[in-house]
Amino acid sequence: MGSTNSTLSKIPNVEELVQETGFTPAHIVRLYDRFEALDKEKTGHLRPQDFGAINRLAINPIGDRIIGAFFSPGQETVDFHSFVRILAHFRPADKKRPKDPSMPEPVNSRTSKLKFAFQLYDQDKDGKISRAELLQVLRSMLEMQVTEEQLESIADRTIQEADLDTDDAISFEEFRKVPPGGALRLTYQHGALTQIRFIIVKNYVRFDNGKQAMKGNRYLKFTLPC
């Protein structure tokens, strides 16, 4: 680990990255250090196995899907630029940005974030979440803990509620509407990339060692240390 300047000079096309993603140079340096730490064999690219070495990701029920989101279809490696671009989805959205239909959607807008989540479900990338894909996600999140019938009934109910054009699948537009008022808000602390906080409205799960949970505030704040 050296000083910021020496690391910055090692990264090609930093200006372009800053423009595209909105990260500051200091943040990019931090991400570069992380990239290098994951890239144990120093090839300059990450492969799925490098992500697999992160233990908390390995025990995550949808860990494989998250890893898959970093790799474009057909590609087996991800370079630093793509790595940063994907992570840029989780930057806070710029609320003051005027809605300009002629400008391309910035990477961290609400729509882009929802699209990212949509793609976690829609593995075959046909633009719709089919019943089978929904079942797959449910199965990874619940595995041995529930029976197949229970899984199917959850899937049926969810599709019933969300599917407005009754084609037995959930399109992106329908997905956007699903959590009414739900929002993925990410905020920074001042100065350095010290935390990224998720604020999800309405949906949350209590993991309290299985004890009974209290119903209460609907806001859920997460902090992501950086």
């Binding site: 990701l57 309290d208 949970a213």
Partner: protein, 444 residues
Amino acid sequence: MKWNRLRGAELNFNPFDNLLCILLGISFTVWFTLLLVFIIVPAIFGVSFGIRQLYMKTLLKIFEWATHRIERGAKDNNHLLYKPYSNGDGSNRDLDHASEFEMSDIFYFCRQGVESIMDDEVTKRFSAEELESWNLLTRSNYNFQHISLRLTVLWGLGVVIRYGFLLPLRVTLAFTGVGLLVVLTSIIGFLPNGRMKNFLSEQVHLMCYRICVRALTAIITYHDSENKPKNGGICVANHTSPIDVIILASDGCYAMVGQIHGGLMGVIQKSMVKACPHIWFERSEVKDRHLVAKRLSDHVEDKTKLPILIFPEGTCINNTSVMMFKKGSFEIGSTVYPVAIKYDPRFGDAFWNSSQFGMVNYLLRMMSSWAIVCSVWYLPPMTREEGEDAVQFANRVKAAIARQGGLVDLLWDGGLKRGKVKDTFKEEQQKLYSKMLTNLGSLR
């Protein structure tokens, strides 16, 4: 004529030569005497002049000033500083319940996943701890670029002092300490077994370790010495670097456990075992767990032998957390004396990242840091209770050590530095999530 000129030439050089030699001789003697009086003699008797405490306080003041200057400089230039440990650890589990599955439940796992990609608790433990302030060593410098001339001069001065003055001093001491250890223990080995031998060997070991401690300029504070390990017990401690051994052994006598190495280490090991019984294993014997357990329990049952020193994590962790303890040493069934060691990273990072640098490089870094400051807590002895198996006992001891040392208690395996995770952990996550839904009626 010629003869006169030659004499003249000789006369010109002689006084200088003599003067130089005399000066060198004097300074060498003075230096050595100082060394002897201030360092070696106190080491023999175990007293201290308090020089190191003063040194530590002065250094701290300088570091504070340096950091202050850097932060001010950064603000002036509008640079963003990277702060490693700002409020909030990502696993904020303050969640309210969901009555049923929603499409956006995936956000929770997604968040966790991306969070761990950015920074996860385990890999963080295997690289050196990041400091909030700068201690004038470029090796702990992440944010700090050239801010002012004064700071650079100070840093340069620091380099000169560390490499020009402290390093040679320390290297001399280290050689003295190790040399004395080898020679004296070999001599003691010739004595017949008995109380005299044990007493002498204890004294010799203590003295040599104290010299080594001074060779590293280690400033150690021992807490709760009444709980020091006694004969027939096992001492367990968290592991950060090979220096842990020197730190613990300079305050009490232990029987070491380890593999026989070749080279210098091997010589030291062989001579140590002549003076008092340590447990050294051949490489082939290490794999045989029964043999290991048997030798350990034999040693422990003999009440005249010294307590065993073991590091159950199995590998060096960076001293911000305690990882899973291997259950082998907890199966033996004798009293366990836990010890917590916490290093203060502001003066020099003692963590040995064995994949990054080898032993010699590591020692060089240690000896060119400012100092190694640490605290040692002796915790009250623990024994395995009824109905508790080795793993639970190990976890109990680990929790006590983590609590005392202010370290994070992780259930991850130190072996994960090189290996992978077991599937049981994934099932735990799924179990928790499903319990949520089942409890609240979604799965009926």
